[in-house]
């Protein structure tokens, strides 16, 4: 294996790599060992601290809060994709009356911290007389405004990276400008930007945890509630461990699904190419 930094190892380099491997294993084992030792010493593994997780009621609640996290994620993901596409086409519009506001919209909402957006929704608007803002609405709208703006830039980059001929050919065969954007440019842009779009979806999933800070009853919020149960030994660390497993699991599942979609999409390109005459 030859990378930019290293040549194919000779005998000397090979023995050195063996030492490096051993040293790394020792250091990593020491760090993990220390963490486990501290957890054990401070009684994080005692049955009392884990008892609460054996109650069916608590397990059901975990399913409910996972549902709440997924609901916020699903609504926010769809909303962000739609807003992103609209903003991207807005920025590419010929009329300055459309493109300039879209430009400032994306720039501003990418510059404001997501948590501040959620706070404006949840604390700011009701104090100014707006009614009916639930934590769910605040979380979802905040996520959509922020991630929609980020995705708008992604879509725009994808569309601008396409060869000019694509658009010109579409116009030449008599498609309207809207049709060119919808059936020529957007599908190709989405396909080429799929890895970035997917990692942004993972970001949305992770950012639903910000809902914890504005009292949205999701996984982390519930874990914090469990951690404060004194009669079960305040299992803060076990509750956070369970939460971490849930989040990492959800993110890995999402990435897995995304990879599947990606490979299927790229294989479909080949099929379409072979029967171009039927497409559309």
């Amino acid at each position: 294996m030859s990378s930019v930094l290293f040549d194919v190892p000779g005998p000397k380099a090979r023995t050195r790599n063996v030492y490096l491997n051993v040293a790394t294993v020792i250091v990593v084992a020491a760090i993990i060992g220390f963490i486990l030792y501290r957890f054990n010493e401070s009684g994080q593994f005692t049955a009392k601290k884990w008892e609460i997780f054996t109650f069916p009621r608590v397990q059901q609640m975990f399913l409910t809060v996972i549902g709440a996290t997924l609901k916020a994620f699903a609504v926010a993901a769809v909303g962000s994709l739609v807003l992103g596409i609209l903003l991207a086409f807005g920025r590419l519009a010929d009329s300055r009356w459309v493109s300039v506001p879209c430009y400032w919209f994306t720039e501003l909402f990418r510059a404001v911290p997501l948590l501040i957006l959620m706070m404006i929704m949840y604390y700011g608007l009701p104090s100014a007389g707006v009614k009916g803002i639930t934590p769910f609405i605040a979380v979802v709208v905040g996520l959509i405004l922020y991630n929609g703006s980020v995705l708008a830039e992604v879509f725009r980059a994808g569309i601008e990276s396409l060869p000019k001929g694509q658009r010109e050919a579409g116009l030449a065969v008599g498609l309207s400008k809207g049709q060119v954007q919808r059936i020529i440019l957007l599908p190709q842009a989405v396909r080429s930007m799929l890895p970035v779009i997917i990692s942004q979806l993972v970001v949305i999933l992770k950012d639903t945890a910000l809902g914890f800070l504005i009292t949205y009853n999701e996984v982390l919020y519930y874990a914090n509630f469990l951690g404060s149960q004194g009669q079960y030994g305040s299992p803060v660390v076990p509750a956070l461990m369970v939460t971490a497993v849930i989040y990492v699991g959800l993110c890995l599942i999402l990435s897995g699904i995304a990879k599947l979609v990606e490979s299927r999409m790229s294989s479909r390109v080949r099929v379409v190419k072979t029967r171009v005459g039927l497409a559309g």
Partner: protein, 216 residues
């Protein structure tokens, strides 16, 4: 405007602490991220594995959860007290380091293999190949993603407000204690962030990109 002037003390302290969080976390994230990036391109499989494990585990965990662990879980472990500010710095650094390492690693991968082969061919040893040939080119190409990472870090510092750190994100709680109007107060916080990101960090990025542009 009145909210800003009447409570200027709150805003100054809040954003000062945001600045401290940002600068210190950025420093540690850069150091740790570079080390992890080095591990992920190293010839030893165990080092690559350890780096990959760290990056994948931390990147798939929400920042809120990481900060919750250091602010709420860590004190339960019977280790020396570190305080909420330091807890936030540790959490932000560990989280941001994974993004820094990914940016730097992709930068190293963009350098053409021929570059270091040529360097070795004229007899440069490993360290000189790395410091004179590969890193200067890699660093230039990672500047934009690295800046995005640091802009994200600046915005992420607000999450620490949820864990007893008095910074920009916590200004709302203090305003509400004083019975001040919340919407204008929060809008001012948003405006200051917009100025910091669009007025300072983005122009700085453009300037550095221009200064270090690679002629290809």
């Amino acid at each position: 405007m009145n909210v800003l002037i009447d409570n200027s003390g709150l805003f100054v302290t809040g954003f000062k602490n945001t600045g401290i969080l940002f600068v210190i976390s950025a420093f540690f994230a850069l150091v740790l991220g570079t080390v992890v990036a080095g591990m992920r391109v190293s010839p030893a499989p165990a080092m690559r594995g350890a780096g990959t494990l760290y990056v994948n585990a931390v990147r798939n965990t929400p920042l809120t959860l990481i900060l919750a662990f250091f602010a709420l879980g860590y004190p339960k472990l019977g280790l020396p007290e570190i305080g909420f500010m330091n807890a936030a710095i540790v959490g932000l650094s560990l989280y941001t380091a994974t993004y820094v390492s990914e940016a730097i690693r992709s930068g190293i991968n963009t350098v053409a293999v021929g570059q270091s082969e040529a360097a070795r061919a004229i007899g440069l040893p490993f360290m000189q190949t790395l410091t004179l040939i590969v890193l200067p080119q890699a660093f230039r190409s990672v500047l934009p993603p690295l800046f995005s990472v640091f802009i994200a870090l600046l915005k992420n510092t607000t999450v620490a407000a949820g864990f007893s750190v008095f910074e920009a994100g916590a200004i709302r709680a203090y305003l509400s204690e004083r019975g001040e109007p919340l919407l204008p107060g929060l809008l001012w916080v948003a405006v200051i962030f917009v100025v910091l990101v669009l007025g300072i960090l983005t122009p700085l990025q453009r300037y550095l990109e221009k200064k270090w542009r690679v002629a290809r």
